[in-house]
Symmetry: D3
Subunit: 231 residues, 6 copies
């Protein structure tokens, strides 16, 4: 497998390593916030990345796309590289809010097993995408079209919404945002996330029964020590 500098253009890497399917699927159940905690509060994309509809929660292997501003040519190139279970992650070489992606491309991507799109640019055909159940997290919504003039790359490392994403990293996205898990750490992060969830379930039962965080977490002494005064 060859590797490239982030930002390299004119390259399509055809073979990338992916995390095991069961690990990816396990991460999907954990959600973005839990995973972000489980891996030491790293890997979060910028909070301006919002889902186009509520309630989706997916995980997949990152198929990275580097695209010029206002140019979605590389998405066509990328779709040929999709493996079942991938999520496309599109970064631009300079900022653009144009609508790179709509229902035709989603039909094509879905036909090849793509689970969703994370795009640091704009998207359109929102009603159709929601109807298809093809989730997208994007920076913008817009009808402004794109051209097909300039090369970018597929499956080189990219900086998407402020986070470095390598091809094959695991992307987890839901209503809370998008987080990137390094492929080689995915199993370990899943394990830690599961432990958090088990722990949280136990806590939830106690909270639901009316117990206070002050007591569950034993916070009272430290608050007193810091000088908190009840009046």
């Amino acid at each position: 497998m060859m590797s490239f500098q982030p930002g390299t253009t004119g390259i399509v890497v055809q073979e990338i390593e992916r995390a095991p399917r069961d690990v990816v699927d396990g991460l999907a159940q954990m959600g973005c916030a839990t995973i972000h905690e489980a891996q030491g509060r790293t890997g979060l994309l910028a909070s301006y990345m919002r889902p186009i509809y509520s309630g989706a929660r997916v995980a997949g292997s990152a198929l990275t796309i580097l695209a010029p501003p206002m140019d979605n040519w590389m998405i066509h190139v990328a779709i040929e590289q999709i493996s079942d279970g991938d999520i496309m992650v599109l970064a631009t070489t300079s900022p653009s809010d144009a609508g790179y992606f709509g229902d035709l491309l989603a039909t094509s991507a879905q036909a090849h097993g793509c689970r969703g799109l994370v795009i640091d640019a704009g998207v359109r055909d929102l009603a159709e995408l929601a109807q298809m159940g093809f989730p997208v997290w994007s920076k913008a919504v817009g009808s402004q079209g794109t051209i097909k003039e300039t090369l970018g790359s597929v499956n080189v490392p990219v900086v998407c919404a402020g986070a470095l994403v390598n091809p094959g990293d695991v992307i987890v996205a839901d209503d809370d945002g998008v987080v990137c898990v390094r492929r080689e750490k995915a199993a370990e992060v899943l394990e830690k996330a599961r432990a958090r969830v088990v722990n949280e379930e136990a806590k939830r039962a106690r909270f639901a029964a009316g117990e206070l965080g002050l007591d569950i977490y034993g916070m009272r002494d430290r608050l007193a020590e810091k000088g908190l005064r009840y009046v």
Copy 2:
């Protein structure tokens, strides 16, 4: 029919020309993104114009309103001028996020056949508007009220969200945004949009069957020519 400079205040133009109803209704089925393409990527309002609820898609003849900041007096004047099938398009003489429009005015507008509102300012009573099925595309949501002190105009050309809208132009709006079609070009744009839709339907079937855009659009040669390397 008299015509006025954009931005003229103190005027209500009572007679305007409108596109034929079947053309307007035809455009409603095409959607904002398709029409924007069909008319050469022109006429799009700024992407900060967002619908207050998802799933609406309407078209109508623009009944234009020019209103002072924080002053919604002209909306009352405009409602008297509504013809069945109109969409009100409100621009301000200087920026304002105040809530110009709520459920009372919507009740009144709807009673006269108005199909929706496009407003480069704020709106309120969101829950009630959604329940009524009265769609609004706005720059802001806010409870901040307005006054009734200063004249604007009705049915003069306005610059709304960065686009020039003439009275009687056709407005098409959906989840992707808002686009303005010149009245005198409406039939021609509809025809082009329909051709695009037919073409897209054929494409969609091929995409759904797994064919690649690379092949459907014959992109491989040009990509190679530009130097794209598969590794």
Copy 3:
């Protein structure tokens, strides 16, 4: 009952006065926009405060929280102070978009009778909060976690989204935004709001029947006087 300067840290005020329950519940039915008008267009929080899901409308007594940036320790302290029917109102000592609040804390708060959260910072676990029916109005959505290091206060006056909120003030929030009603004025504001609603109902019937605001409000003379020209 002791009172403190806005912004005082290290204090938990345990006893606060609240408005009568029936007044609070009455205000919930009026909605944010009506109340804002009824109290002379005051008390509105900044319009960047948006609900995490549509359709909620609540009122409650403000349990105020002053929290350091990225530090949600005080929420745990505040939950112990909840009385049935309260809404937590969190302001920060300096701006932060971190995710202070998620489903575990919501479970705890709900178990003690809390009706919702108004937070001038970030929130996470959106899907779970919507499922629980725990409404939140926030400045941001984000998975970014918080720490528990520094004291803030509970039930001191706070500046939240640009509005001063005293503990025990009534908070009313819906899709249009969030408004704060001074506790000692709550009954009077409710009465005025009810009068507005009765008046609006009568108006709505007339509008629905096609009567014009121009006539209902007798605006024609003043428009003519200001020089409005019909052409």
Copy 4:
């Protein structure tokens, strides 16, 4: 002289009418804020248009440019059309923050008598432009380059920063912003602006001597009538 719809592409209008030089030069001395008042608070470009350096105040005849996003080809075309005393006004067919203009183009424009640039996009080479004394009002600063691929137009009406600008209109720009004066109203606006300035000079002397606006403008009665209470 031919005229075109705003937004028409592929056209260069070579002959435009301009306001008399002495009127333009007179307007330059008035400043943006005064002129905006003098023409009834119209014609102001959006306040996001900021000067790249402080202290410039210019007026000129608008040489309008409509340019595609990230494409500055039309600036070269426009420079050939410059008459001594023009200001170039560039609008884009869709939003772009790219750096359309730098010191080379400024050298060329200045050599043909251009007095400055108003651009609803980005600019670069700030240090050099300041050194040359070539003033620019722009939406953005950025090093991001542009291409030369797609036609726009020169000297068609454009919507720039939310205001409609016709070729030959007078542009006045200073630290307070940018205002557009219709060519055919320029003399009248200048007269009104001069009257304002004379009036303001008289006022300034009285203010400097310590007289109060309350007395100069006779505001005390109306304030009392509105119910202002001194306590």
Copy 5:
């Protein structure tokens, strides 16, 4: 002296207490960042408040103004209440970017001893204000004018740029921002700030000589304890 709820309209409080002149002048020399630290990181106005020119550093007693959106009537009322050494602090009852203040009002305010303006809205006549040496910290720059229609208040507590400011509090503003010091704490804060400055001077000498913060502050042990690895 009477006191009022923040946000009360229709009131001019004529007598307010101010901090001693030498304390105010002392604070002017400390600067915004130092004072913010010295008073426990409180009192800072939002960072969107920017000076209209660089290099000013002033302190003064807050003469507070509450103004309606787009209405600067209350500034005229406020100027009559200026005592030598005051800084006007203007908040609005709802957001506005209009240009409330220009060189005429500055002439008037300066004639009465006003040291500057802090305004959570817009300002104009920037070149003239800079020439006069009248410093302004504002949210916006704009030529958009205001009206004189609606009452606000003078010298009631206001929320300005997210901070509560009482009449008579000390305002300190420079290139770093604006901070508010409670009047009754002003002497104590000055003392603490001076201690910080003395301490910083000593530190500066050591830093300039090449000593490291790691050693001056004895940070090495704690860094090692936290696990920092040098590789």
Copy 6:
């Protein structure tokens, strides 16, 4: 020399490779826009990175700092690692506008040969930094202080303002923005940039003499071919 994943915390890399001094100094003379072009329009940091004062133009080797939000501890650690001619490049693990850096730290950094700071966060003491001639490019200005609690890293790769910066890469910054040049490409980029400058100098003379870009670049035929009409 060890290398690390972007975002690794708890690490200080003490030995990094740097580009030759004459290459770095050569790049300083080229400026940000020219270099961005010369290296194929890559490496530009987001355009929200603005200089705190006008007119600075510097180049240096990147000493990278990864810092937690609101925590500037790592800057102290980084200063010990400065080599003469370095520029500090600070990225945060999550967004923060706090004021990480002021005149004391600048005194220390300057004493060790640091040429400037590029910081995707806030800065303070602007007047003092300008006086010292210590240039900073930052996302924000603010007096809000930081703490010293959590480890980050020094000299690991970081994502700063959307661009990946490796330790030892060359940073060039001026009024137009900030660009990053890969260390191993620095000499090659310098050569290309010099060729551009020579070329531009020749062009500038021709432009100054009134020659048109249309002729210098031979654009007339292609414009005609694209269908540009002169009317």
